[in-house]
Symmetry: C2
Subunit: 343 residues, 2 copies
């Protein structure tokens, strides 16, 4: 099916766009009252994520209600550890928790590798329903966690400020870490290929915990596996978002991916300098959306002026915060659109 | 009194040193069984911090038991908000919590400014006792939080991944944020001057939450106030450690301070390139101390090779983690000393 709005895909491929495309990470969920209405009928996050019709419904909400230029499937990066054999609970206001964690080679041997992708039919089904309902209006984005970030949760067992248990494995048992990353990478490649077959027009890899690694650890334990995933999926444009890893932006620029996500710790001009000809995505501080409409517009326009309107996808520098007013999100989206209309 | 070991001060001033000085952030407390023995007799962290003889005792332990080249007074950056009128609780395994927070200009008006320094006699007393007990063996380091980090706690009320309540104030009420930073800065300058009068040979400013700011916010709401503090205290060398703010290292290099602390998100060569002729302090990943003795030595020696032995203070890139084995800390300290002996 031909897309009516393919701004995102053209920007990702470095083709000319008549205006800057815009979407938000975590837009599917969190900020819309319509999302919370769906969510309140259910037992929790996991029921929503694993029920394809409902996941599709909340995936479509931001397209209908906010006017974004892409849908991103409602899911979580932790479905991969679960499919590999490590189930997780999502605890309200606390985050994910794994009753069982990985601490030994035996634990790793017990996990599924690429076969894990066969246990995620609910995600593929949600993608198919969403794709059909979108009916070509905007592209559909699929996603997965980058292997290091997935390892971090599988070893740590929960969120953490330091992820020191996970990092301990990198320093004290590097061979074990590589064995686990190998399995996660195999599972992730198979999973993302199935997402493409189910209708994803573009993919994003979230390396949410890249920023706690040193440049050397990031290279050895994260970047190498991200590269492998990008190489394995030439079918659609891939965005790599290694949060906190601007220290390695020039290394990321060599990845065989279309787009790099950047957080707000870097000036757009500096990101451009380091990222070569890659399309860039980002990087408004999510807290800008707490400011007045006038301030949101002025920050957004300044950001676009700095990145330029080509090879650029407007977004926040992280997922939208849950307590953000939906009207302020709309103001951001409208500001992106109005800039381009003026220019 | 003449110091028997003034390596730290000479390195800070850019003078020649015959070997690299080494100390650890949070060395006074956390890792030593001898510290935990003192701690267990008490009601909690605050009793220890506010009882000068005990604070002095645990400040001296790492000098006696680990052989570091400096003592750092056992205290907390949050004594300043408390002295200004905002008491805090330190909750075991959870961190600081403020029953009352700052949300309005009225809240700010109710706080003490430079007079707050008069309410911190217990810190000055602990410095004096420590200074006497050190008897010139090594320099004594005093410290405070940088104003942005202190504001972050005073507005947020606790630790946070995003400090989005505090950042909201920067975007939506910048004048109020500046009024609060003004008062914190006045209190901090008066406090640090009293620390110097009480025996501190060197000072460190901890901007622990610099890394969640954009370059523009860091410049406006953090760096300007840090500069003012450095200018106000020419008596002793000052180290500025803005964790996560390597994006602004070249701006930090223009501060009128002696030394810059760096975390492990940057290669030493890159830090040298950005920091000009400033003495640098850091930057071993605290998780390296989980590795084997052999690995600790090799990482430490590689770090010193990269920074060079002059204008350099060996340290971790953050406070030592509480679950680190004291023998591994000793291995790090010995590795710094053995490198210099070999070189």
């Amino acid at each position: 099916m031909t897309l009516q709005n393919d701004l995102l895909l053209r920007a990702a491929r470095g083709e000319k766009t008549e205006r800057v495309p815009v979407w938000l990470m975590r837009q599917a969920g969190r900020i819309l009252p319509e999302y919370r209405a769906v969510r309140e009928r259910l037992s929790g996050f996991k029921e929503l994520a694993t029920t394809p019709t409902l996941a599709a419904e909340v995936t479509l909400q931001p397209v209908d209600l906010l006017g974004v230029d892409a849908a991103i499937i409602f899911s979580d990066i932790l479905v991969i550890p679960e499919a590999m054999g490590l189930p997780y609970d999502m605890i309200e206001a606390k985050g994910p928790s794994f009753p069982k964690v990985v601490r030994s080679q035996n634990d790793i041997d017990a996990l599924l590798g690429k076969e894990a992708a066969e246990h995620l039919e609910y995600v593929y089904e949600a993608l198919k329903i969403t794709k059909k309902e979108l009916n070509g209006r905007v592209p559909l984005i699929g996603f997965a966690g980058a292997p290091w970030t997935i390892l971090a949760y599988m070893v740590e067992g929960s969120g953490s400020k330091t992820f020191s248990k996970a990092k301990r494995m990198l320093y004290s048992e590097p061979a074990m870490a590589h064995a686990l990353l190998r399995k996660i990478t195999d599972a992730t490649i198979a999973y993302l290929k199935r997402q493409v077959l189910s209708g994803a027009d573009m993919l994003q890899l979230f390396d949410s915990w890249a920023g706690i690694l040193s440049p050397a650890l990031f290279e050895e334990f994260s970047l190498n596996y991200i590269r492998e995933i990008c190489e394995a999926i030439p079918e659609v444009p891939v965005t790599v978002f290694a949060k906190g890893a601007n220290f390695a932006l020039s290394q990321q620029a060599k990845l065989p991916c279309a787009t790099l996500g950047v957080d707000w710790n870097i000036e757009p001009e500096e990101a451009r300098r380091l990222a070569g000809t890659k399309t860039l995505q980002g990087n408004l501080d999510p807290c800008v959306l707490y400011a007045s409409f006038k301030e949101i517009e002025s920050h957004t326009h300044a950001m676009i002026r700095s990145f330029g309107t080509q090879r650029y996808i407007a977004n926040l520098g992280h997922g939208v915060y849950a307590d953000t007013n939906a009207d302020h999100v709309r103001c951001f989206i409208d500001a992106v659109k109005s800039y381009s209309n003026k220019a």
